[in-house]
């Protein structure tokens, strides 16, 4: 794969404003960002900074007021509903703060659902689903419903689901936000493993400082603008536990 070479996401001069009653709030005030394929990128920022808005834009979940967002050099504003669904199904895997597993389905069914949407037949999907559950260490629990799994286990199922159609990008919105410290660390190292071994681009919005040590780059958002972008060697925040685990 010629990953390192190409830009998987390109954001140019993006602004976004919302109408709140009579007021217009500008959540993003002109953001330029290029994300390389295979990169592990964290978007950090306090709540209300425009972090989530930018994140949603990158994920094709929201459209900018002005400016352009390209995913794999395709302007997402040009896509129709059908192509957007295809993009979400094949190109992007989503991981949510609240896990968002479908409660009425078992772990395996949750993982296979995107494959069914992608037109894969049942046997193939089941096989791949089990394999992915194995990857996150939950193969034995494939028949359990989400409410029978712990938070960390649910998030691992969600990670397996995000990998269903071998996407190029994994978007993780506060993936550790609802988890305790140790479980959060497990999820972070799992994401890191995926990005290293599978070459998936991981983009996460977070304010969890544990995320920093595994990130290739960290984008700091403040007040609707990019405050600074730091690469891993520029980061000098001590995150002892994780760093020692990785070593």
């Amino acid at each position: 794969m010629e990953q390192q070479a190409h830009n998987i996401v390109r954001v140019t001069e993006v602004t976004k404003s919302f109408k709140m009653g009579t007021q217009t709030i500008q959540a993003l005030k002109g953001v330029d960002l290029t994300i390389r394929a295979g990169e592990y990128l964290s978007i950090m920022g306090p709540s209300g900074s425009g972090k989530s808005t930018l994140f949603n834009m990158i994920g094709g979940l929201d459209k900018p007021s002005t400016g352009k967002v390209f995913i794999d050099e395709v302007d997402i504003a040009q896509l129709d509903a059908y192509e957007l669904a295809w993009l979400r199904n094949r190109k992007i895997g989503y991981i949510f703060q609240t896990f968002n597993l479908i409660q009425v389905m078992t772990a395996l069914e949750n993982v296979t659902l995107p494959m069914i949407f992608a037109g894969m037949n049942n046997d193939e999907a089941t096989e791949k689903g089990l394999e992915l559950l194995g990857l996150v260490g939950l193969r034995e629990r494939h028949a359990h419903r989400p409410q029978e799994l712990s938070g960390g286990q649910q998030q691992r199922v969600a990670i397996a689901r995000s990998l269903a159609n071998t996407p190029a990008i994994i978007l993780a919105d506060e993936p550790t936000g609802n988890l305790d410290l140790t479980t959060g660390e497990e999820i972070i190292s799992l994401l890191q493993l995926l990005s290293q071994e599978r070459g998936v681009t991981v983009i996460s919005a977070t304010h969890d400082y544990k995320m920093l040590s595994v990130s290739d780059r960290v984008v700091w958002i403040r007040d609707g603008r990019i405050d600074k972008i730091e690469s891993r060697d520029q980061l000098n925040i001590s995150v002892g536990t994780i760093a020692s685990k990785d070593a």
């Binding site: 989530s52 949603n56 979940l61 929201d62 509903a81 059908y82 192509e83 669904a85 295809w86 979400r88 199904n89 094949r90 989503y94 949510f96 703060q97 609240t98 968002n100 597993l101 479908i102 409660q103 009425v104 389905m105 659902l113 995107p114 069914i116 949407f117 992608a118 037109g119 689901r161 269903a164 919105d173 506060e174 936000g177």
Partner: protein
Amino acid sequence: MDVSRQVVLPFRKSFEISVKSLQVRFFRSLITVASLVLAVAFLSFILIGGDMATGMLQSGQPELRSALLKAGYDVNPMPVEKSAAPLETVGASAKERWIVILSLLVCTVGIVNAQLMAVTERFREIGTMKCLGALDSFVLRLFLLEAGMQGLAGSAIGALAGILIGVLAGLLRFGFDAVIWLPVGDLGLSFLIAIGVGVALSVLGVVYPAIVAARMRPIEAMRTQE
């Protein structure tokens, strides 16, 4: 975009998902269906009452005819064209018809309300499905399927209950004469009509909530508050 890269949801799979969803949310479904069961029971009760009275009239027994008149039935003489003996029918009174229509209307409004609630409860789930690549039509189909199944089960129960109560009421009022002259064909037809109306109302009631659900933006799945 080439054809092999379609986004699909086979019908069998959507059926499976709907069934599962109904099973898991069984109690919720019961509430949605309750008003339908009652309205359809009332409809089939009225229909079966009409069938019984018509059967008794057409039996040609004068004492049954007078019993019906005494009980307050309106006897309409049927236009005599082909048959030699004048056949009479019992028409549902205008008042009765209106009450049935009104009850069906109220029931439909109840279904719309219950389904809108269900959609709200499932915002997160629908948003997630859309993030996974579901098209609007998948969501629409799931809701219509669920409503169809709820309608079928609810109407069947309602229609059976209505017939049972109708027959019991007839027995109490007119004795065995009510059942003896009851034409089986008419009974079956009334049953089918009641079920048909029930399924139609159930599906009709879910159309608007389902459209609301289908149009939901996937970004809703990202919202953290319940």
